[in-house]
């Protein structure tokens, strides 16, 4: 909330809030919307075909952030480690390929596996390790330091909230169908969001 207050005061200029510009290494095919925010002093690496929607926030304040190929980060999502709570190792965050981070999701994980989907308003705690092809349903959370196996689905009110999706694990064609779906999404979005990664790479 406090950073939002800061954003309001500097509303006239549509650039990021703090004057510190992160060291960004952005692939040329990535699309970063004009109103996206990348902050922090550490390294931010963005792979190819990544789409970052307006008002997404990537915070490299406490550690580096590496975003794999084909990822999608939606508006109001916050990607980046938060304040360290005592552990000494710097929190590098590695986001795998094809990861879909939806609106208002808060990701502070250490690692997010390939092709995982983190739905609207989900949250992944600090230091957690999420496997590949996982899905975290809206408003669900992965606790700090928790390890999610590959193909896990986190949903529900928490009572029966975990499930291993055997279908996804066993059948390749279902995974391929999902990949195809993701690729088509990216195609469409590419045509709709104008790119302004120059803002982050130059200067």
């Amino acid at each position: 909330m406090t950073s939002k207050a800061a954003a309001l005061t500097t509303r006239q200029s549509s650039t990021a809030i703090p004057p510190v510009k992160p060291r960004c290494k952005i692939h040329s095919t990535a699309i970063i919307a004009d109103k996206a925010q990348i902050t922090g002093s550490h390294i931010v690496e963005i792979g190819e075909n990544v789409i970052i929607h307006p008002h997404a926030r990537i915070k490299a304040e406490h550690g580096n952030v590496f975003i794999g190929r084909g990822c999608q980060i939606a508006e109001k999502a916050v990607v980046g480690a938060g304040e360290p709570t005592g552990s000494s190792d710097a929190a590098d965050m590695v986001i795998g390929e094809g990861v879909s981070i939806e609106t208002s999701a808060v990701v502070e994980a250490q690692k997010v596996g390939d092709y995982t989907t983190l739905e609207v308003k989900s949250s992944v705690g600090r230091g957690a390790v999420v496997g590949k092809w996982c899905k975290v349903a809206p408003m669900c959370e992965v606790r700090e330091q928790e390890v999610l196996e590959d193909y896990t689905v986190v949903f529900g009110d928490g009572q029966k909230g975990r499930r291993v999706d055997g279908v996804l694990r066993d059948r390749k064609e279902v995974r391929d169908a999902k990949l195809k779906g993701k690729a088509m999404e990216m195609e469409v979005l590419k045509g709709l969001i104008p790119d302004s990664q120059m803002k982050w790479t130059m200067g």
Binding site: A137, G156, R163, V167, L168, E173, V174, A177
Partner: protein, 576 residues
């Protein structure tokens, strides 16, 4: 009881908990006095456990204009207008409902793991043919039911469909083939048979039994004797020596026997040996892989499923749209249009259009009061708690929906019933409220029309001129605070009681301390007020005068009507 304040809940006078209080002196005239003191025992206690089931917000109450009484969900009967499926929103004719087991017979199914709706999705075997238009591929397209919330699909139970419609048929076929396949494997008689087969076998068995014992079908459904055999038996006892009657008594009916064996539908306990497989599976998958009782009860096919991997999707249960009918006079008081999804009412007799509505708000709000349902910002202030022993004044507003002037009398016990005694005083318990006219009446008539109240005119003038006098106004006993065209406001003084009992020198025992602990929601300050509204209305010629409340009954004459009910005003929570 609500968690948001201020609130008003209305109690229907149907239960003895909420019936009208009898005043201490039994004369009617005593009600006309300015302040009516009620005993605590007569007053409605909003904290009593039964009060939970009698208090309703105003939009849930209806009114029967034949009986001139409030109708709550306990005072009306519901009749089903139509059945519909909540997913496909198709209406199901009531004749087909029973046969389908109150479930949708189209392709609407619920996910067994998260109970959200399943969608028919296409899945292809070949990678390259994915998601291309359907004319590109031959018969390779298969369909599954997919849950988009938890990603469960029928592929988990290895079920696929050939076409996207008539899922029910295809599911039934697949289940049958699966149980027959497993029955072939286990040829021992101890194997359990599937639920559907057992049901079918049982019904045929018992039908045969009934035929064998000679009970003829009931050709006389309306007869009070329930079957010709019964009739014959009774005739036998009371007379008649016809040949047929004597013959029937000679033939003793065969006793019916129960089902024996699988062919007749009996399901047997499958024996201890087959449990080892289940136990091993339980050890490997863990507790989370077992089904809950809700999951087992979701559909008959799931009744014996022990593991979540064995759960089949259940067809969506149908919902109904119901009309409401007054229990005493059988008048319809609410009825919607028979079209699915239409929220328009043919008949709608809402209580809010017949009884005065009350609402309460603080006189000097320290925090701006907002309707808690309409919090627009996430940082809206928390409602502050009431401090014990601090007098607070509230404005109680009464709005009159009728077209006649209504005389209102309010009564409340001096201290609120329940464990925490707060003191309540209504400064002006008896007053009138103007009629709700047409909207343009207000514009046409000047504000002088409502000058019949004390203090009201000054307030109206003050608000018109925008002077600051209104903020300095002091509430006075016996005077109305504000009066507009169809609403009147009076002041209520509330002194919240303390949650903790007063400290005493005598040390309390364990039981007393345990008793003194607050139960949930006991710190909520709810004021019970009995509202009596009286008004006069003209009887239209031709209208029959019913009910027991009016005096005189000729057409064209004025008839006095009244309605009385308890309300619970939720003021806030007491701090401490």
């Amino acid at each position: 009881m609500t968690t948001s304040f201020p609130s008003t809940h209305y109690a229907c006078p149907c239960s003895d908990l909420t019936s009208a209080p009898t005043p201490p002196s039994s004369k009617r005239a005593s009600i006309q006095q300015t302040s009516l003191q009620l005993n605590e025992e007569q007053a409605f206690n909003p904290h009593s456990p039964r009060a939970n089931y009698t208090l309703y917000p105003i939009d849930h109450l209806l009114f029967c204009d034949e009986c001139d009484e409030i109708r709550c969900p306990r005072c009306w009967t519901e009749e089903i207008l139509y059945w519909y499926c909540p997913h496909c929103l198709f209406e199901v004719p009531s004749s087909a409902v029973k046969g389908d087991g109150n479930r949708c017979s189209r392709s609407c199914y619920d996910c067994p793991s998260c109970t959200s709706p399943l969608a028919v999705t296409q899945v292809s075997q070949r990678d390259e043919a994915l998601l291309r238009p359907s004319d590109a591929t031959g018969g390779d397209e298969t369909y599954v039911l997919q849950c988009h919330y938890c990603d469960w699909s029928t592929l988990e139970i290895k079920v696929q469909f050939n076409k996207p419609t008539k899922i029910t048929e295809q599911l039934v076929k697949q289940r049958k083939s699966r149980t027959s396949a497993s029955k072939e494997k286990e040829s021992s008689a101890k194997a359990a048979i599937s639920h559907d087969d057992a049901f079918a076998n049982l019904t045929t068995f018992y039908k045969d039994q009934l035929n064998e014992t000679g009970e003829p079908q009931n050709a006389y459904p309306g007869s009070p004797y329930s079957s010709p055999a019964n009739l014959a038996r009774i005739m036998n006892i009371y007379g008649g020596l016809s040949h047929n009657a004597l013959k029937k008594t000679r033939d003793k009916p065969q006793p019916m026997r129960e089902a024996k064996g699988h062919a007749e539908g009996q399901t047997s306990f499958s024996g201890i040996d087959s449990d080892t497989g289940v136990i091993q599976r339980l050890q490997s998958s863990g507790w989370d892989a077992t089904t809950t009782s809700e999951q087992r009860l979701s559909a008959p096919v799931n009744n014996e499923a022990r593991f979540t991997d064995d759960l089949w999707p259940s067809a969506t249960r149908l919902r109904t749209r119901r009309a409401k009918r007054c229990k005493s006079c059988r008048h319809i008081i609410a009825r919607q249009e028979p079209k699915v999804g239409s929220m328009r009412y043919k008949i709608r007799l809402l209580a809010m259009n017949y009884i005065p509505r009350l609402s309460i708000r603080p006189l000097n709000p320290t925090v701006p009061i907002t309707n808690p349902a309409f919090h627009l910002r996430p940082d809206m202030p928390e409602q502050e708690k009431l401090q014990p022993h601090q007098t607070k004044q509230y404005i109680l507003t009464i709005r009159n929906p009728l077209f006649e002037t209504v005389k209102i009398t309010l009564a409340t016990p001096a201290t609120t019933p329940g464990n925490i005694a707060s003191r309540v005083t209504i400064l002006c318990p008896s007053f009138t409220v103007g009629p709700a006219g047409e909207v343009w009446d207000e514009a046409l008539s000047a504000s002088t029309q409502s000058a019949s109240s004390d203090g009201g005119r000054k307030a109206a003038m003050a608000s018109l001129t925008g002077s600051s006098e209104s903020s300095d106004r002091q509430p006075e006993a016996g005077k109305i605070w504000e009066k507009t065209r169809n609403s009147t406001s009076v002041i209520v003084e509330i002194i919240p009681g303390s949650l903790k009992p007063p400290p005493s020198i005598v040390p309390k025992s364990e039981e007393e301390l345990a008793d003194a602990e607050l139960e949930e929601d006991e710190d909520v300050l709810e004021v019970p007020v009995y509202v009596l509204a009286e008004w006069e209305t003209e009887v239209k010629p031709g209208e029959s005068v019913q009910g027991r409340k009016e005096v005189g009954g000729m057409a064209g004459e004025k008839v006095r009507k009244e309605v009385g009910y308890w309300i619970a005003l939720g003021v806030g929570r007491i701090a401490g």
